[in-house]
């Protein structure tokens, strides 16, 4: 209990002091995870919609695979991305290892299946509702996908936020591909891991509380924005 107090006090001190290092780390955490969430949403949401409106032989296999990939271990993803981008790896020439870009790529791989799977589940129900009408109007598959994405946008927000939540708290993959280099690739979660291993528990806890506050803040901000919509019930 005493540690918790110490942590809260340390967190307060850091914030009140406008600690430059702290704000740099927060900024990098947000940059990496928000970018990864945007890219993963751009891939995962249309993929989920496409799965909802398409009927093909291997559909069940693809959906099962997607659900299984939701539980992809971040450490393994980190290791694979590391091998791809390491100097001897196939993409080594790009020189991306130990950069925020590599961290974004790793997080994209982790959360795209999650976002696609949640999107598919939400849009499957909407498609059941719309099916007869959209078939009757002879819409193209692209039009069906676009209609579902637009009309299901509130449910899809949840899918993206779930992806954001998984990525912002993730440490295994970004530690491996980013390397936790001060002023280059250090983010909140890797800093917490470092401070904990140094035995600096109060600082680790302070960073942890800030991380949680950040996640809550982003969720509140997104929900605040979406509440401005015209039709609250949808």
């Amino acid at each position: 209990m005493d540690d918790l107090w110490q942590g809260m006090l340390a967190a307060l001190r850091l914030i009140v002091a406008l600690d430059a290092d702290l704000f740099e780390i927060i900024g990098r955490s947000l940059y990496v995870t928000l970018t990864a969430t945007l890219i993963a949403s751009a891939i995962g949401l249309p993929l989920g919609a496409w799965l909802a409106v398409s009927r093909f032989r291997q559909r069940r296999v693809v959906i099962s695979l997607l659900n299984a990939l939701m539980g992809l271990p971040p450490v393994v993803v980190g290791l694979i991305v590391y091998l791809m981008f390491s100097r001897a790896g196939p993409l080594g020439v790009l020189g991306l290892l130990f950069t925020p870009t590599a961290m974004i790529i790793a997080q994209c791989i982790i959360i795209t299946p999650l976002i696609a799977s949640i999107a598919h589940q939400a849009l499957r129900d909407l498609w059941a509702e719309y099916h007869d009408l959209l078939i009757s109007i002879s819409t193209s598959r692209l039009t069906r996908i676009r209609t579902l994405l637009w009309d299901g946008r509130r449910a899809l927000l949840t899918a993206s936020l779930a992806g954001f939540g998984r990525a912002i708290g993730e440490v295994g993959a970004i530690l491996i591909v980013g390397g936790n280099i001060d002023h280059v690739t250090r983010v909140l979660t890797t800093a917490i891991a470092l401070e904990t291993s140094k035995g600096n528990l109060a600082m680790a806890l302070a960073l942890g509380l800030i991380l949680i506050a950040l996640a809550i803040g982003v969720n509140l901000a997104v929900h605040g924005l979406s509440r401005t919509e015209r039709t609250p019930r949808w």
Binding site: Y130, L133, I135, S136, I137, S138, T139, T147, G152, R230
Partner: protein
Amino acid sequence: MVDLLPLTVTDASVRKGGRTILGPVSLTLSGPGTTILLGPNGAGKSTLLRLMHGLDRPASGSFSWAAPRDIAHLHQAFVFQHAILLRRSVLDNIAYPLIAHGTPRKAARDAACDWLDRIGLTAHANRAANTLSGGERQKMAMARALIREPSVLFLDEPCSNLDGQATAEIEALLQDASAHGTRLVMATHDLGQARRLATDVLFVHKGKVQEHAPATSFFTGPATQEARAFLKGDIVL
């Protein structure tokens, strides 16, 4: 308007869950006017409509229009028993079929505004579709179906849950569409409505077309025992 008729259905049947729920049916629809499908609940009226529109696939047999099937489908519309509401405003619901087929947004919205005016829902243009009453929803669905000026319009008991006023408004829209050359094919079990609108009647019972006759001869002297009982108001089993 593209001429899709005659529609010829040959020995078509529809199976669901391993059970034949319609057919085999054979029929021909041609000429202008309004075909009314009559019959008790569960007779297969909805399934027959869905088959002709291409929403249900025939398990056996076939049907063909005077045009290739995908062209024919583009010039048809369907009004469902319960209006399917897109999660959009009333205006955007009505404009949707035009936008889905490439009409610029502005022009589609203008056309939808004209329709809103015709169905008396201008004041509700920007409300979410699910805030409309039952009658208003069905009028919105009618406008959405008619906005692309279909050659053939299918209707599955569009007035089944509506009061007299709303029914009269829907029927006025139907007669107007018919006067402008849209062929109507409509299921109902409201005999009064059938008499008001029909030029010919398809009597459907137990998944089969029992009788297909011009309205006047059907209502004055139905050929089958079941149709006679149905017209008398007896319960047809």
